[in-house]
């Protein structure tokens, strides 16, 4: 059976051009970028080129980009690094209720170390309330961290407005842009960003590599101590092949793909909502990630929908927590006001530049009968 991959918010297929660009760095160009000899300088040169490409893509200066192992590390480094740098004079961090677990669980851990965390509410579409943000900032506040494009419901925050508030109040502003990178406007100057988390494997690059943009003049306490790589903020021999692949993925990202995906997304949403008693979760149009669809089907369980979709060849994921390691209803869906049953009756479909119109058609063809079948099984009416 043909597999149709509709889970690109989890990870994407590595582009062949990316693999090709990486290959030499597994072979003859294997050097350690810290070595002073020819082999080392060859690797260093490739790495610095990559840094330039990524910096330019978000309006940063080259030296403001450091390489990490991915989104989770960059987010940990931001919050822990800033906390240890500022504690005990300052101990307050502001974030939202709809962040990725690597922000939320870092915050929970920091609370045990003496941090005070404010978790901002969001509205029914997942947007942060700017007034609540403004009122939450105190003279103890170190940083405000808000996810750019939400990984579950696709809502894209207005970074410019949030950045303005942070600048006015003189606190740092960080965003986790793993899902939104190359898919919507991101510029550290116009959006007043001080730190930005980016990663590679969501944009058809390899896994295990990401970056943190750190505005000039901001000090972080490192998580890793060692040889002083990456401006002494992130020790450890750089993943040169991964870094080269990441930059290649950024280079080949194309605005036309974004428009194509947005069209398919809207066709999928429109088609799904034709089924009775279904509801879109998250924002619409330009304020939604071009590749994200999240819908709730009344009275049937999301993972069961996913299970039947898999039988037809589709890889999707659920908002239902039953599916993952945790048994709780998704904290994001709860935060936008869904009941546990509604939360557990949702699925997430995330497309990519490789998605075809035929795949979209086939999905819309098989979905109604799956929903009907499960509604017959359900005792809820």
């Amino acid at each position: 059976m043909k597999q149709i991959y509709f889970d690109n918010a989890a990870s994407t297929k590595t582009d062949e051009k990316v693999v090709e660009a990486m290959m030499p760095y597994f072979g003859e160009k294997f050097g350690n970028a810290s070595s002073v000899h020819v082999k080392g300088q060859e690797a260093k040169h490739a790495m610095e080129n990559a840094r330039k490409v990524i910096a330019k893509s978000i309006g940063a200066r080259t030296h403001e980009i450091i390489f990490t192992s991915g989104g989770t590390e960059s987010n940990n480094l931001t919050l822990k690094g800033l906390f240890w740098q500022n504690f005990p004079e300052k101990n307050h961090i502001i974030t939202t209720k709809i962040e990725h677990d690597c922000i939320l669980n870092t915050c929970k851990w920091l609370e045990k170390q003496g941090a005070k965390i404010t978790y901002l509410d969001v509205d029914s579409e997942g947007f942060v309330d700017l007034e609540q943000l403004r009122n939450s900032i105190t003279d103890k506040t170190i940083v405000v961290s808000v996810i750019h494009g939400n990984n579950e419901i696709g809502t894209i925050q207005d970074l410019e407005m949030i950045g303005k508030v942070c600048r006015e109040k003189n606190v740092l502003f960080h965003t986790d842009a793993c899902q939104s990178y190359t898919k919507t406007f991101l510029d550290v100057k116009t959006q007043n960003l001080d730190l930005v988390t980016l990663n590679s494997h969501k944009i058809h690059g390899p896994k295990g590599v990401g970056t943190l943009y750190i505005r000039d003049g901001i000090n972080l306490t490192p998580l890793f101590h060692g040889g002083g790589h990456e401006r002494k903020i992130r020790s450890g021999t750089e993943n040169v092949s991964g870094i080269v692949g990441f930059a290649k993925a950024v280079e080949i990202a194309d605005k036309r793909d974004v428009e194509k995906m947005a069209g398919m997304r809207d066709r999928l949403i429109e088609g799904i909502l034709k089924i009775e008693n279904t509801k879109l979760n998250g924002a619409q149009g330009d304020k939604r990630l071009c590749n994200n669809i999240n819908v709730s089907f009344n009275n049937i369980e999301g993972e069961a929908v996913g299970g039947y979709l898999e039988q037809k060849g589709f890889c999707t994921s659920t908002g239902s927590a039953c599916a993952s390691h945790s048994l709780e209803t998704s904290h994001v869906l709860k935060s936008i006001g869904l009941t546990p049953v509604q939360g557990n009756s949702s699925i997430r479909v995330s497309i990519s530049k490789f998605t075809t119109n035929e795949e979209v058609d086939y999905f819309l063809e098989v979905l109604p009968s799956i929903v009907n079948k499960l509604r017959r099984i359900s005792p809820l009416r």
């Binding site: 069961a304 299970g307 239902s320 390691h325 546990p340 017959r376 099984i377 359900s378 005792p379």
Partner: protein
């Protein structure tokens, strides 16, 4: 036993459950679940000569819940009430060839619903006599 993935047998019961139905004129109903956790299970039985003659279920549940309820029905059909009462969830999980440990809590709904249906039957028949 497999504790990581859904077995082929479990998926078969999920994809083609044989006992999803409303039993006609049921003698007893067992409903369990936790709306907070987002699981609901309803099981209906028809009893004759102390044996479960017919059984069916409906569920708002994940693949593990659907498959284990179907298995509970398969095990219980034709058995006496006393025999049916003795089934445990371990029996069900074993019959299904295992499942991810995190899903065990979803699978218990089937057996709980069966027990509740039997209790319901016994209560009704005590009050009759």
């Amino acid at each position: 036993m497999n504790t990581q993935t859904y077995s082929k047998k479990l998926l078969k019961h999920f994809r083609n459950p044989k006992f999803v139905k409303k039993v006609r004129n049921p003698d007893a109903i067992g409903e369990v679940g936790n709306l907070k956790c987002g699981d609901v299970m309803r099981m209906q039985i028809k009893v004759a000569d102390g044996k479960i003659k017919d059984i069916g279920f409906q569920t708002f549940g994940c693949p593990a819940a659907v498959a284990s309820s179907d298995m509970v029905c398969e095990l219980a059909k034709g058995k006496t009430l006393e025999e049916a009462k003795k089934f445990t969830n371990d029996d069900v999980v074993k019959e299904l060839g295992g499942m991810p440990l995190v899903k065990i809590h979803c699978s218990v709904l089937g057996i709980q619903a069966l027990r509740k249906a039997i209790e319901d039957y016994e209560r009704k028949n005590r009050s009759k006599s």
